[in-house]
């Protein structure tokens, strides 16, 4: 498979009054054409900021301080606003967590779709309308031509997320970054949206980075899973490998806290401790304070990214001795 997106050593920091927040700290990730990658991690681990970095949407006080993001070999870090604009919505698209907030409440749906069409395609007004209706039909919105003149508040949350998906996929982007698009929706709608995106992405040969804090959401969707902790990808590999044979203690902790992995009645195991602060000097492994297998070396030396057998892990002990789940 050919590599579509190649991220290497990406660092996105926020300058705050308390110091530099290392939201994304040395992230490396490759996405192949047509592949679905699940980016999993708890709240504050830097998933959204990673997504924004790939879209060139990091705002002050945030800044990409190091690293490279290549889309089909073309370097995106340091691109001018003009080039970014041509890329966004055309080559890379993004959908967000809360469909209630993603669409502009005072603009009609047709306005919001057609402006996105016209940002990248020079088409007549009539053709743009037609295209907009087709896009709505494509995400399963009934009587799309009539719904075009509605305002966002006339749609349910699930329908709004469908509209956002329709907009994101208008130009058949090469990459779709889905930032927890189903988190705010109820479970049945979640499943529908998930299936919809999967179908459309396959049809359009669009690669997807599906961001979520819920491993079970991506288990049936993603080809590969990247687990993020404290601004880093601590483990990355094929979905089945990661789920059946997790190499990083954090991944194991995540799996143990999943209801579906437990027998009924058994209490769920939670990962002890609180998420790390992203401020100040990084000393040792950031997961060490919460890790049940931590040794002296873990709080002294920062583990490197070790790659073996289609798996990349950041842990002093992973990939050397396999620990049973």
């Amino acid at each position: 498979m050919t590599t579509l997106l190649d991220v290497k050593g990406l660092k996105t920091y926020f300058a705050t009054t308390l110091g530099e927040v290392r939201a994304v700290d040395d992230v490396s990730l490759a996405v192949a054409e047509g592949e679905v990658v699940g980016l999993v991690g708890e709240s504050g681990s830097g998933k959204s900021v990673t997504g924004y970095s790939l879209m060139g949407l990091v705002d002050a006080p945030g800044r990409i301080v190091a690293g490279s993001v290549k889309l089909q070999g073309r370097e995106l870090v340091g691109l001018g606003e003009r080039d970014w604009r041509a890329l966004r919505g055309h080559d890379i698209a993004m959908i967000f967590q809360d469909p209630m907030l993603t669409l502009n409440p005072v603009l009609r749906i047709d306005t919001q779709i057609i402006e996105a069409i016209r940002a990248h395609a020079d088409v007549s007004a009539a053709r743009a309308r037609e295209w907009a209706a087709e896009a709505l039909a494509g995400v399963g919105i009934p009587s799309p031509a009539d719904r075009l003149t509605a305002y966002p508040h006339q749609f349910s949350g699930g329908m709004r997320q469908r509209v956002a998906i329709a907009i994101a996929l208008l130009h058949k982007p090469k990459l779709l970054i889905a930032d927890e698009p189903t988190t705010a929706l109820d479970v049945t709608i979640q499943g529908q949206i998930l299936a919809q995106v999967q179908t459309l992405a396959t049809q359009m040969k669009t690669s997807v980075i599906w961001i979520t804090h819920d491993l079970s959401v991506v288990s049936g969707l993603a080809n590969r899973i990247a687990v993020m902790y404290a601004g880093r990808i601590v483990e990355e590999g094929a979905t089945t490998d990661v789920l059946t044979n997790p190499a990083h203690p954090y991944t194991r902790g995540l799996l143990r806290s999943l209801p579906s992995q437990n027998k009924p009645g058994e209490t769920l195991t939670q990962i002890p401790g609180a998420p790390p602060r992203l401020l100040g000097e990084r000393v040792g492994c950031s997961f060490a304070p919460r890790c049940d297998q931590a040794q002296v070396v873990c709080s002294e030396a920062d583990p490197d990214r070790t790659v073996a057998a289609n798996r990349a892990v950041r842990c002093h002990f992973a990939l050397r001795e396999e620990v049973a789940v």
Partner: protein, 326 residues
């Protein structure tokens, strides 16, 4: 819509009724206009004649009764001091005030929204910070003092602009207007700027706050993710959202600009309603005071109505039928 308008009308009439009673009683309590209107040399017979002629011999409630009865037929009584109908007196002064207020509002909106947007988009830049610093001055300096300083600087010191009266006017449909002549326009500038300053500062701050809030919203991030130009994002997505509070404030503030033109009109000897009101209060010319306040209240009511209509046009989530409660 009809039900909404009817409810509004009834509410307004109740407000007008309560207003007129309050003002009537208030002016009655302050003093007796006869003491001011009749010279102290006049004999008792002359005084009595004047009292009867003005209807001041009757009880306050019967005076109010005949006023209210007249008001229903559009007659707000005759000015004690001038002997002409109070309404007519006010109407001849109204164009001057409206012209001043409209010009001031135009300046405030025309400068306030763009400056506020610049300050909101670049809050940490030098220009953004300068705009905010200037708006703090505009907020905190008293209007009459700024008016005097403007006169000192531009009229006395530099001698560029006149500071007194309306200048040359042109009649348009019988309404005298200043801004159509060069001389009139020159006369209009200083008082209009003076009156605009406070509202300008208000609009700058309001717009800036709105822009900053909107720029941080997900719909702006999504609009950027679609690849839209920043002109379109700011000019359509952001502006349309911030226009909702701005239009409301513009409407409400226009009423207060008209009402508070009093200060500016007296500083610049602008012959508007505000100046008439001050003169009328000095001689306790009750019919004029009452008529003036009734007109101002009607103006507020009317503007509120326009604001509600504009509001529902701007915000698709608002329907007029639901907003009758304000």
């Amino acid at each position: 819509m009809i039900a909404f308008l009817l409810r509004r009308l009834v509410q307004s009439l109740l407000v007008l009724l309560a207003m007129s009673v309050l003002v009537f009683v208030g002016v009655y309590l302050i003093g007796n206009p006869i003491d001011i209107l009749i010279s102290s040399q006049a004999d008792q017979a002359e005084r009595d004649r004047a009292i009867v002629a003005l209807g001041l011999d009757k009880s306050i409630w019967s005076q109010y009764g005949s006023f209210a009865f007249g008001a229903l037929t559009g007659d707000l009584g005759k000015s004690f001091a001038h002997g002409v109908p109070a309404l007519e007196l006010i109407m001849t002064r109204m164009p001057a005030t409206l012209e001043l207020a409209l010009t001031a509002m135009l300046i405030a909106v025309g400068l306030g929204i763009p400056l506020g947007m610049i300050a909101g988009l670049k809050p940490d830049g030098f220009i953004g910070k300068s705009i905010m610093a200037a708006s703090i001055l505009g907020f905190s300096l008293p209007t009459f003092w700024v008016g005097l300083m403007l006169i000192m600087l531009f009229a006395v010191f530099l001698g560029w602009l006149p500071s007194n009266g309306r200048g040359e006017t042109v009649d348009v449909f019988g309404v005298p207007l200043s801004f159509l002549t060069l001389d009139g326009l020159a006369h209009l500038i200083l008082p209009a700027v003076n009156l605009a300053l406070f509202k300008l500062s208000l609009l700058i701050r309001l717009t800036r706050a709105g822009v900053r809030e909107a720029m941080a919203m997900d719909y702006v991030k999504f609009a950027r993710a679609k690849g839209l130009s920043s002109t379109r994002i700011v000019g359509v997505h952001v502006l349309k959202n911030i226009m909702i509070p701005i239009v409301t404030v513009i409407g409400l503030e226009f009423g207060s600009v008209v009402a508070f033109a009093v200060v500016t009109e007296s500083v610049f000897a602008w012959p508007g309603m505000g100046k008439l009101l001050l003169d009328s209060i000095n001689v306790l010319d009750r019919p004029v005071i009452v008529a003036y306040l009734l007109i101002i209240v009607s103006l507020f009511v009317f503007i509120n109505l326009l604001v509600d209509i504009a509001y529902s046009a701007l915000d698709p989530r608002v329907r007029l039928a639901d907003s009758g409660a304000h």
